[in-house]
C-alpha cells in the first residue's frame, strides 16, 4: 500500500526572465512504514522534491496523492491542516521558534491539532523522552547545542504521531556524534513502523534506508532497494 504516490512531478521556477526547471517529471511511490532516503548532489532537486511531497510547495505539474487524499485540489488552509495532522517535518537548520522553550515548540502544533494543554504536555514529554533530552524541557533553543536542537525538532515532528515524517538534510549542520544520534532516532522510529522520507547528501546513512533514490538534474536516475 502506497502512502505517497507522486506522478510526473515537475517544478519550474520563474525568475521573471528565465524559467528554471528543477524537477523534470519525477514519479515516486512510498509504501506505508517505508524509510526512503533521497540522495544526490547539491542542486539535484532533492529538497525541492521533499517540499512538493510534504505539501510545503505546489508542483508546476504532476499529481500527488498522500494516503487517500488527492492533494492537487486542497486549498491553502486545507494543506496547512493536512500538514498539521498527517505530516511531520525536520529541517536542516532545526527551525525552532526562538522565543519558545523546547517543550513549547512541541506543544504549539499539538494545541493547534486540538489536544488539550494537559494532553499536549504529556505528548511533548513523551516525545522529548524518546529523543533523550527530557531534561531540556524548559530550555530555549539558544540554550541548546545543535544536536539537541535537532532532537527537539525530531520530537516536534513525532509528537503528534504523523503518518509521514519528512526530514531535509537533518544532519547537515551536526557533528558526527550528534548526526549518529539523530540517524539512530530515525532507525528506531522506522523500526516502530514510522514512514520516513529523508533527504541527505551523506551516503553513509543510506544503509539504514529501505530504499535509496538518487536524483540528478531533477530526474530520478537510480533507485536501490534493500
Amino acid at each position: 500500500m502506497h502512502i505517497i504516490s507522486a506522478k510526473k512531478i515537475v517544478k519550474t521556477f520563474h525568475n521573471g526572465v528565465t524559467d528554471q526547471t528543477v524537477l523534470r517529471g519525477v514519479s515516486l511511490d512510498v509504501a506505508l512504514g517505508e524509510f526512503v532516503i533521497i540522495i544526490g548532489r547539491s542542486g539535484a532537486g532533492k529538497s525541492t522534491l521533499l517540499y512538493q511531497l510534504g505539501l510545503l510547495d505546489h508542483p508546476t505539474s504532476g499529481s500527488l496523492r498522500i494516503g487517500e487524499v488527492d492533494t492537487e485540489n486542497l486549498s491553502s488552509n486545507a494543506r496547512t491542516e493536512f500538514r498539521l495532522t498527517e505530516l511531520g517535518y525536520i529541517f536542516q537548520d532545526y527551525a525552532l521558534v526562538p522565543e519558545l522553550t523546547a517543550s513549547e515548540n512541541i506543544i504549539v502544533p499539538l494545541l493547534m491539532s486540538g489536544f488539550s494543554k494537559k494532553e499536549s504536555l504529556i505528548l511533548a514529554k513523551d516525545a522529548l523522552k524518546k529523543v533523550g533530552i527530557e531534561d531540556k524541557w524548559n530550555n530555549l533553543p539558544s540554550q541548546l547545542s545543535g544536536g539537541e536542537q535537532q532532537r527537539v525538532s525530531v520530537a516536534r515532528a513525532i509528537a503528534g504521531k504523523p503518518k509521514i515524517i519528512f526530514a531535509d538534510e537533518p544532519t547537515a549542520n551536526l557533528d558526527s556524534e550528534s548526526s549518529a544520534l539523530v540517524v539512530n532516532l530515525f532507525r528506531t522510529l522506522h523500526e516502530e513502523g514510522q514512514t520516513i522520507v529523508m533527504v541527505t547528501h551523506e551516503e553513509e546513512y543510506t544503509q539504514y534506508a529501505d530504499r535509496v533514490v538518487t536524483l540528478r538534474d531533477g530526474e530520478i536516475v537510480d533507485i536501490k532497494s534493500k
Binding site: 496547512t80 491542516e81 500538514r83 498539521l84 513549547e104 493547534m112
Partner: protein
C-alpha cells in the same frame, strides 16, 4: 477563525512578549504612552484654556445664576423682592446685587496745561456693590492684586480693573484707552451720568475675567447717590448655590415666580460671554483634529512596530505555518501583541495623566493672557480616546500581520 487559533495565537503572543528584549518592549510601551498622552493632553490643554476661563467667569462674575436687566429696561424692576425671595430659598448660599452704569475715569487732569491735549481717560462699567456680599458670592477680594479690597464704609474709594490701567494692560491704541498716569493710591475723577466725583484707587483687580478687569467697583450706596437710583432697583443679581447641581431647578423656581418678566435669568453656562462659547467650540474642534492626527500617528507607529517585528520573524512565521499553525493564529498572536503594547501604554498614560499631569497643572496653571490654563481630561473623554487607540491598534497590528502571514510558507522558511 476558531477557538483553537485564538488559543494558539494567545499562547504564542504571551511568550513572544515575555521573552522579547525588555528594552524593546519598554521602548514600544513608552512610545505608546507618549502617543496616548498626545491624544489626550494636547486637546485637553486647548479645552482647558477655555474651561479655566469659563470657570473663572463663573466663580468671580456670574456665580451659579445671574439675573440681569432686560434689554429694553435700564434695571431689574422689583429687585428687592427678587433678592429677598432668592435669599429665602433653601438651595441658595448667598446673593449679591450690583448697580452697573457706564462711567469714565480721568487721571492727570490737574497737570493738563493746554486746551488741545487729550485727557488721560478710560471708560468702563462702574459697578456698585455691597463689598461683603459680593465677596461672599464671587470672592472678589481674592482678585485684588495690588492695594486693598473695599470696605462698606468707603465713600470715595474704588477698585479698578487691570484693563483700565496701562501698567496692567499696556495697549497703546486710540480705540482702547486706559489710564497711563494712574496707579494704586492715585486720585482720579469718576464721571457717571454727568456727575463727577474725585475718588482714590484703593485696589487693583486682575482676574483674567473680562467682565471684572473692565470694571470700576465702588460701594453701592455711593454709586446709587451718583446716579440718583432711589428705588433700590439693581442691574445684576448673582446667586451662589449651596449645591451647583440645583442650578436649573433654582432657575425654574425663579422663572415660575414670574421674575423672568423683569429680568434675564441665566445659569452660569448661559451667561458665558459669546466669544468664550465660540472659542470653546473652536478649540474642541481643534483638539479633535489634533487628536485624530495623534491617532493616525499612533496607528502608523504600531503598524511599523508590528511590521518590522513580523518581517524580522518572517522565517519563524513560515516555520509555524510549515508545521501546521494556521494564518489566523499567527495574526491573533500579533494582534494580541499590539493590544498589549497599546493597553500597557494607555494604562501608564492614564496613571501619568491623572496622578501627575492633571494635579500638577491644577497646582501650576499655564499662564495665558485670558486664563490660567488647566488640563481638562474627563473620564469619559479619556476612555473614549483609549478605546479609539485600542481599535486603531488592532487594525494597525492586524494589517502587517496579515501581510506577512499570507506570504508563501516555503519562501518564508527559506528566506526567499
Amino acid at each position: 477563525m476558531n477557538y483553537k487559533s485564538i488559543s494558539v495565537g494567545t499562547f504564542l503572543a504571551v511568550r513572544q512578549i515575555r521573552r522579547a528584549n525588555i528594552w524593546t518592549n519598554t521602548l514600544i510601551i513608552f512610545v505608546m504612552t507618549l502617543t496616548f498622552l498626545n491624544l489626550v493632553v494636547v486637546g485637553g490643554i486647548l479645552v482647558g484654556l477655555i474651561e479655566a476661563s469659563v470657570k473663572s467667569n463663573r466663580t468671580h462674575y456670574s456665580s451659579d445664576l445671574l439675573l440681569s436687566n432686560l434689554l429694553e429696561k435700564t434695571y431689574i424692576e422689583g429687585s428687592t423682592k427678587i433678592i429677598k425671595f432668592a435669599e429665602g430659598l433653601p438651595e441658595v448660599s448667598a446673593v449679591t446685587a450690583r448697580y452697573v452704569e457706564s462711567g469714565r475715569l480721568e487721571a492727570g487732569y490737574k497737570e493738563r496745561t493746554r486746551q488741545g491735549d487729550i485727557l488721560d481717560n478710560a471708560t468702563g462699567l462702574v459697578t456698585g456693590i455691597d463689598p461683603a456680599k459680593e465677596n461672599e458670592v464671587t470672592e472678589l477680594a481674592s482678585k485684588v492684586v495690588e492695594g486693598e479690597y473695599l470696605d462698606s464704609g468707603d465713600e470715595d474709594q474704588i477698585l479698578i480693573g487691570g484693563n483700565l490701567l496701562f501698567k496692567y494692560s499696556p495697549i497703546d491704541s486710540p480705540g482702547l484707552r486706559n489710564l497711563k498716569q494712574a496707579g494704586l493710591g492715585s486720585r482720579v475723577r469718576l464721571v457717571v451720568n454727568g456727575n463727577t466725583k474725585e475718588v482714590t484707587i484703593k485696589g487693583i483687580i486682575k482676574s483674567k475675567v473680562g467682565e471684572l478687569d473692565q470694571r470700576i467697583f465702588m460701594v453701592d450706596r455711593v454709586l446709587r447717590g451718583m446716579i440718583g437710583r432711589t428705588d433700590y432697583n439693581v442691574d445684576e443679581i448673582a446667586i451662589k448655590l449651596k449645591d451647583p447641581a440645583y442650578v436649573n431647578q433654582v432657575q425654574q423656581i425663579l422663572t415660575d415666580e414670574g421674575f423672568a418678566r423683569v429680568a434675564k435669568i441665566r445659569t452660569w453656562n448661559e451667561a458665558q460671554p459669546k466669544f468664550l462659547v465660540d472659542i470653546k467650540d473652536a478649540f474642541a474642534l481643534l483638539g479633535d483634529i489634533i487628536g485624530s492626527v495623534g491617532l493616525v500617528v499612533a496607528s502608523i507607529t504600531i503598524f511599523i512596530v508590528i511590521f518590522v517585528n513580523a518581517i524580522t520573524r518572517r522565517k519563524y512565521i513560515g516555520i509555524l505555518k510549515g508545521v501546521g499553525i494556521d494564518s489566523f493564529a499567527i495574526e491573533v498572536a500579533y494582534i494580541i501583541q499590539s493590544l498589549f503594547y497599546a493597553v500597557a501604554g494607555t494604562l501608564i498614560g492614564i496613571l501619568i495623566l491623572y496622578f501627575v499631569l492633571v494635579p500638577f497643572i491644577d497646582a501650576h496653571p499655564i499662564n495665558f493672557p485670558f486664563s490660567d490654563g488647566i488640563l481638562v481630561a474627563t473620564v469619559s473623554g479619556t476612555l473614549w480616546r483609549a478605546f479609539a487607540l485600542l481599535v486603531a491598534t488592532i487594525i494597525a497590528g492586524y494589517i502587517p500581520a496579515k501581510i506577512v502571514s499570507r506570504q508563501n510558507t516555503l519562501d518564508a522558511i527559506l528566506g526567499r
